[in-house]
Amino acid sequence: MARNVSTQRKLLTTVVAWTIAILIFFPILWTFLTSFKTEAQAIASPPVFLFFDWTTENYFEVQSRSDYFKHFMNSVVVSFGSTLLGLVIAIPSAWAMAFAPTKRTKDVLMWMLSTKMMPPVGVLVPMYLIFRNTGLLDTRTGLVIVLTLINLPIIIWMLYTYFKEIPGEILEAARMDGASLAKEIVYVLTPMAIPGIASTLLLNIILAWNEAFWTLNLSAAKAAPLTAFIASYSSPEGLFYAKLSAASTMAIAPILILGWFSQKQLVRGLTFGAVK
């Protein structure tokens, strides 16, 4: 029986939902608006909301002071690179755990997840020293490696969940049809798991794009991605709010657009298996 929902109740829940949505979105909107203010207006009290002298000066200023495109390219290389490398490692790992589980598979999965519970700062010094000694400090390669390592548990977990949904008989059929393990993964498993792999890919690119702790600590100038670009405008002295906002807007815009276009894929990915 359908629940009887009164119009008033519907109105109330709609208002509540919108309020929460706006609250969540507000900081991004505020950053966006601030990026078009002058530095004086940016710190004005009481704050000005929409009625100020709109200016794009901050964007030109930011671009002239630091090379946005270089940071952008670093972000692209680091986030896409680490995600692709992660997938290459995670697909066979998730295959093994989903289709050839042992008594210890659950423990391995939990152990991998547990590495995400450790505060990263706990291993910062050893990681820094390793990077310094191996010459990986401030290189794109170094950042790709570290981001692959920190996101690998999530990639494997997501893929494992998708692979579990694929009937094992189909893979057995491939084996009977003469497919080697590699061919089974390339021709049967991967194409069947494409929706899952795509949402894992997207989510992980977003995670890698936004990752700030390791990228800030292990890069300086050459390999610095957009996170470092934003950070360079957060100064303890001087008026930088508007420029900081402009830099932030420029940094989050690409990933926001990517997320917008792949919304459907992402929602499917995050709720996969919840409803069958």
């Binding site: 189909i170 057995e172 059929a173 009977m176 049809d177 003469g178 497919a179 069947m192």
Partner: protein
Amino acid sequence: MGSITLKNVSKVFGAHAVIPSIDLDIHDGEFVVFVGPSGCGKSTLLRLIAGLEDVSDGEIIIDGKNTTDLPPAKRGLSMVFQSYALYPHMSVRSNIAFPLKMAGEDKAVIDKKVEDAARVLNLTDYLDRKPRQLSGGQRQRVAIGRAIVRQPEAFLFDEPLSNLDAALRVNMRLEISQLHQQLKTTMIYVTHDQVEAMTMADKIVVLNRGRIEQVGSPLDLYHKPDNLFVAGFIGSPKMNFISGASAAAHQAHTIGVRPEHLVLSKDQGSWRGTVGVAEHLGSDTFLHVNADGIGTLTARVSGDFAVTHGDQVFLTPDPQRVHRFDEKGMAIR
């Protein structure tokens, strides 16, 4: 060609022996059915032959070659799964072509073989569809197409018809039998349905708790069951078992009489009883009779025999068709 020999094959999962030890010979070109109740190990046995499970002990010899340690792909067998196990992202054409592609065949050869298989199975019009656009019967045909295209040593069928509705099942049963006559390739077919076993097999292997109870032709098993289990499993409706004084009269611990071997009369006979339920099928009527001092007996009579609930009837077993069993449940001959 496609002869298969199992020598001392066993399978143990943890401490539990699913298959204690099995010896079996399957000749080239035979249609062999493994039948038994669920959990009897018939599917496991098929998977051991396929190589999808490793044997715990023993040897599997296919075409004179020891294949015990070979992976499934190297055994030269094809399998049709209960769930069809089609590749959902591939068209029917690509599904059927897949084993040939894996074998590295020429594109022209693949195209020809796929067309041939599709013609045999009436799939020509569906070659460019995806599996999800097909009905259950068509999907099953695609699965069979994928199996025949490679011309294997033998086909393995794992309950291939249990996902189909009753009418389609009868059709597909016939098609598989015809396919066997056409191809003359060894087929091993697993089912829990004794009707499928009886209608399709050259040789039936009755399994129970991982052991072979009896191997023989369908009529052998029907007429000369080795023990109570086979007697009760083969035949529908089930054989009636009677122990006590009536059995002692036949010098046996238990006697078995098939429902079709009970003669019914309204006036006289060996056992008197009252009709409980009468199931009218038209051609036949199945009567469930509560016989005095014996219990419920099932009898199969002609559809013309007019009788209803509560009627008194007399049952007489055909003396030539009484099966006798000792206290261990083994047949006395």
